[in-house]
């Protein structure tokens, strides 16, 4: 018997909250840092300033919510792409918490940040597979392709201070889009 219930929505809301809260706290941290120039200074410089507590809180809260929000993706009724996306996003959420808790000059911070970027990109690729498989959600899949190609372009075109801003905005847009996608599609539970 296959039953359909719309239970993925609660987890999807957590994903939307994760991205929104992180972005809001990052903007507060930037606004509270005197002398920080857009496109010239790194976001990492904010975390070492007095206002860094906002950014770190944003990363920690965002990471926790992202990890919990991805639970809805893992339990989806046997879709391997979605499961991979959920697991990778869960790992990247936990890694984001690590980035928040370790000091900027700590090697663990750097390793966690690198692993976070890798797992996040892999989650995006897994979501592309799931979206295009059986023509599930073409618009969301094409948005992910678009964001990935633009992020490569930004890396080639801009200095680190600029392309990391582009990457962060893209990541926020993508997580919110995945949350909306999760809200729209029902979770299918296969029961014997």
């Amino acid at each position: 018997m296959i039953s359909e219930k719309k239970s993925g929505g609660a987890f999807a809301v957590l994903s939307i909250m994760a991205a929104s809260l992180f972005f809001l706290l990052m903007m507060i941290a930037i606004a509270d840092t005197p002398g920080w120039a857009f496109g010239e200074d790194l976001i990492g410089d904010v975390s070492t300033s007095d206002s860094g507590v906002y950014l770190r809180s944003g990363m920690a809260l965002g990471g926790i919510l992202l990890a919990f929000g991805s639970i809805g993706m893992v339990f989806n009724g046997g879709r391997p792409g979605k499961t991979a996306e959920g697991v990778l996003l869960m790992i990247s959420g936990i890694l984001l918490v690590w980035v928040a808790f370790f000091e900027h000059d700590d090697p663990i911070n750097k390793v966690a940040l690198m692993l976070f970027i890798i797992t996040f990109v892999l989650a995006m690729i897994a979501s592309i597979y799931d979206d295009f498989k059986e023509n599930r959600s073409m618009i969301y899949g094409s948005l992910t392709v678009l964001l990935l190609v633009v992020s490569i372009g930004a890396y080639a075109a801009y200095e680190p201070a600029m392309y990391q801003v582009v990457w962060i905005i893209e990541a926020v847009i993508w997580v919110i889009a995945r949350g909306i996608n999760g809200l729209c599609e029902p979770t299918i539970n296969k029961r014997k």
Partner: protein, 123 residues
Amino acid sequence: MKVRPKIVKAGFWFGILGGLIAGIATIMAFVPETAEAANMWLGALVVVLFFALGGLFMNDGSVSWGVVVFMAALATGVAVAVTMFGAMDIWFGIIITAIGVIEILIAANSLTGRWIKADRLIR
């Protein structure tokens, strides 16, 4: 009997239009003083992608629906990336990106999907 929907025809013509505009932008990116042609290759990539995308909306197209949508997203993403790189005038980049977004919406439309999966070979 022709059953090619209007939205698919629009997809074809928007692809051609995007390719032509990208072609003009590519030519205008040439700097005669230095004969710098490196940026033109990136513009040419956008031209090729948009013409290829337009071709996918023809009856003779051989790829699946997913590939058409993927190509539309890829062409748009490359257009944005090339504009960010400065290889194309920003206003041309904005116009081509807008055309690319329209192409994504056309490609992802359910009418286009039905035509590709069922009616494409009917002339």
